[in-house]
């Protein structure tokens, strides 16, 4: 009855030797939104999260980058694992190309972060594997290119680039779940918040997370996911948070107004 068996067609990856972790909480695209990240962490702990997995983009757009980076460092000290996103990379390298608003926010962020904080971000890995799972900010076929996973074709490219049975990524700020069958047929699905989906052993999966700090799927509530390694079930979760406070801080700091306005629309 679906025990946490490891047998199966997929090869095991031993990059990180995990202990018997049962409930993972996974967060992507936090974007320096303190209110949203705090709400998600509370919600995840309330659901019994035993380990935090962070999929990148801790800064950019939002007005609390110092707090966000400190929180990520603290979580890692307590057993969390984290990969690097494009905004985290852009803090240390002006070579990353971004749109004007994102660029303005990154330049502001750069001036807020201390040297150790910037070094911490720059040294995060682009991807991590744990048992048969891959964690990466976006498309796994070329993690440093930050290509969006927008459809089943993009997802297929990412899935065939890794031996992992399950990949978790973010970057696009809209939840999605893709699968590839043994005959390489793809399925795509928009997850329903709160409904656990079992990631069946017979196929390979790419779970795309919504964004903690800047949701763009029309729902302003912060988005994260829980994964039960025993049941192999993933659940997308929504955490309502004080959007007005996060938006006010963006405006108060002279960041582009659209970055504040879009939070309440979830766009």
């Amino acid at each position: 009855m679906n025990k946490p068996g490891r047998a199966g067609g997929t090869s095991r990856l031993d990059n990180i030797v995990a202990e018997e972790i049962l409930r993972l909480a996974i967060f992507a695209d936090i974007h320096a939104n303190r209110q949203a990240f705090a709400a998600c962490l509370d919600a995840a702990r309330a659901q019994g999260a035993e380990r935090m997995v962070l999929l990148g983009d801790y800064v950019g757009y939002g007005a609390d980058p110092e707090w966000a980076v400190d929180t990520v460092m603290d979580l890692i000290d307590r057993g969390a694992i984290a990969v690097r996103g494009n905004h985290d990379t852009a803090v240390g390298s002006s070579a990353e190309s971004m749109n004007a608003e994102a660029q303005a926010a990154i330049e502001w962020t750069r001036g807020r972060l201390s040297a150790p904080q910037r070094r911490f971000l720059a040294e995060l890995p682009l991807e991590l594997t744990e048992e048969d799972r891959l964690y990466v900010h976006s498309d796994a076929s070329s993690p440093a290119r930050w290509r969006y996973v927008q459809d089943a074709a993009d997802a297929g490219r990412s899935i065939i680039a890794t031996p992992a049975q399950i990949s978790f990524c973010g970057h696009i700020h809209r939840p999605a779940l893709y699968s590839m069958s043994v005959t390489a047929k793809m399925t795509s699905f928009v997850p329903v918040a709160g409904v656990a989906v079992q990631l069946l052993q017979g196929r390979r999966w790419l779970a795309v997370l919504g964004s903690v700090g800047q949701p763009r799927d029309g729902n302003p509530a912060a988005s994260f996911a829980m994964f039960d390694t025993a049941k192999r079930e993933v659940t997308w979760c929504r955490a309502p948070y004080d959007v007005a406070a996060a938006a006010k801080k963006i405006r108060d700091n002279g960041l582009p107004l659209w970055l504040a306005d879009r939070l309440s629309a979830g766009r």
């Binding site: 399925t187 329903v192 069946l200």
Partner: protein
């Protein structure tokens, strides 16, 4: 990935496998048992060895995902699943008896028997749709009955769960399913419309009452596709005595455009449960198929059959409720009934697919059973139906949306509650107790209904006239406000 075949006596995850009951195209069925589970079990094992149909694997995966989430009397209870990576199986309650397929030799069945069967299947579909699942393979061999009478739907390998990934969505270029029962929109790749199941049930009702399948038996895509534009021969053409109400129901299920069918299985079950209340339209009288001009328009304009954006099953069901209004036509005041009508109007305003059932309870006396009551009782019955129609007239509901019912009972509240349960009513609108000595003595019907109903209850009060005496409470408020 060839695995050793299962042998009788094997134990899989604690399930003791006994005898092989059946081998189909997709899976083998074994009887099984498990310590501590005292119902007979069925273990379904997909045929996944090399060279097998990939559909067998995907169907198994769908059933493995969906069946454990289903509950209620209309599905077999699931006790465990095993993954393809180890030993694939689904262990479930074994429903005794045979599927409806066993009745095929006896067709056509009497109309009344099919009406009852159809009502049970529609109720089972309603319960399944409420759990966000569309069956997509409704046919005689997918339907069984419990000894207690409820229809049980089996085989969820082609089903769609609105909250789970649909693994069949891109798997096959041709729609997978049973050709004679397949809804036309399925040929366009639509898998998220619960009304597809109502079409399949319509095929079954047609077949069981006439002995002929409305779209034949062909599995050829060229033939199956014709149902996108070609309607079937009306049943009355095949059987002279075909009841108009039944033809109305069957042809409505078989409408090419899903929006022209019953909006929900619950509404279909309602009509099958009240044949005398079915509103007959031109469908019920039809003796011929649609004229060729209509068929050509459908075929070459395709206006009715364009794929639509993804539907939300739960939202669809919520938009098509059955609302029951309980009215007291004798001693109820005009003001209360007007207030109830206003509330009903507000409830129905945004729901063009909702139906309204107007109820009145003819209270039977426990002691006064005498000879004149029969005669008088039946007169009262008619009077009250007329009164209900009259009350509903200002709502101007379309032909299919209004039914009136006089229930005869000793206890009005129980009668209303029973009607709501049997007919899967979504919302009851009822007047509050009148302030009368009689009401106080008898207890409140609305209070009992509100407390025990299986659905939402709105208790209506007429607007209160301004009272002359200022109550104490209001006086206190005024003091507080001046502080």
């Amino acid at each position: 990935m060839a695995k050793p075949a299962i042998e009788p006596g094997a134990v899989i995850d604690g399930f003791a496998v006994a005898e092989r009951l059946h081998v189909g195209g997709m899976a083998a069925l074994w009887s099984a048992s498990y310590p501590g589970i005292d119902v007979p079990l069925l273990m379904k094992v997909p045929l996944t060895s090399e060279g097998e149909d990939p559909a067998a694997i995907v169907s198994f995966e769908m059933e493995q995902m969906i069946l454990p989430r289903l509950s209620g009397p209309h599905v077999p209870l699931c006790f465990g699943t095993g993954d393809l990576a180890r030993q694939a199986y689904v262990a479930m309650e074994r429903i005794p008896g045979k599927t409806l397929f066993a009745r095929l030799d006896a067709l056509p069945l009497p109309y009344e028997e099919v009406r009852v069967l159809g009502g049970k299947i529609a109720a089972a579909l309603a319960d399944l749709h409420r759990q966000n699942v569309i069956h997509h393979d409704i046919k005689p061999s997918s339907i069984m009955f419990r000894e207690s009478g409820e229809a049980v739907l089996i085989d969820f390998g082609l089903s769609h769960h609105d909250h789970l990934p649909d693994l069949l969505q891109e798997e096959f270029r041709v729609p997978y399913g049973t050709a004679p029962y397949m809804a036309p929109e399925r040929l366009l790749g639509v898998r998220d419309d619960p009304r597809s199941d109502l079409f399949s049930l319509g095929v079954l009702l047609y077949f069981f009452t006439t002995g002929a399948r409305p779209f034949g038996e062909s599995e050829a895509l060229r033939v199956i596709r014709q149902r996108l534009w070609r309607d079937p021969h009306p049943p009355r053409r095949l059987r002279d005595d075909y009841p108009p109400w039944l033809q109305e129901i069957v042809l409505r299920c078989l409408e090419i455009e899903p929006a022209w069918r019953y909006p929900t299985a619950t509404q279909l079950a309602f009509d099958l449960g009240h044949p005398d209340q079915v509103k007959l339209t031109a469908r019920s009288e039809r003796l011929k198929r649609d004229p060729l001009t209509t068929v050509w328009r459908r075929r070459f304009n395709q206006g009715l059959t364009q794929p639509k954006p993804k539907a939300d099953v739960a939202a669809h069901l919520a938009s098509s409720p059955i609302v029951a209004v309980a009215l007291d036509t004798t001693q109820g005041s005009e003001a209360l009934n007007a207030a109830i009508r206003l509330t009903a109007e507000q409830v129905l305003a945004t729901l063009p697919s909702a139906r309204l059932a107007c109820l009145n309870v003819l209270k039977l006396g426990r002691v006064t059973i005498d000879r004149t009551l029969d005669q008088e009782g039946s007169n009262k019955h008619v009077d009250r139906l007329v009164a209900l129609q009259h009350w509903a007239q200002p709502l101007r509901l379309g032909e299919n949306r209004l039914t009136v019912h006089v229930l005869e009972a000793f206890d009005p509240a129980s009668a209303i509650l029973e009607f709501a349960a049997v007919n899967h009513v979504d919302h009851i609108v009822i007047g509050a107790r009148q302030t009368s000595l009689l009401g106080a003595l008898l207890g409140s019907v609305s209070a009992k209904v509100a407390a025990e109903a299986p659905c939402t209850v709105t208790v209506v009060r007429p607007p209160r006239l301004a009272a002359r005496n200022v109550p104490e409470e209001a006086g206190e408020k005024r003091d507080a406000a001046s502080d």
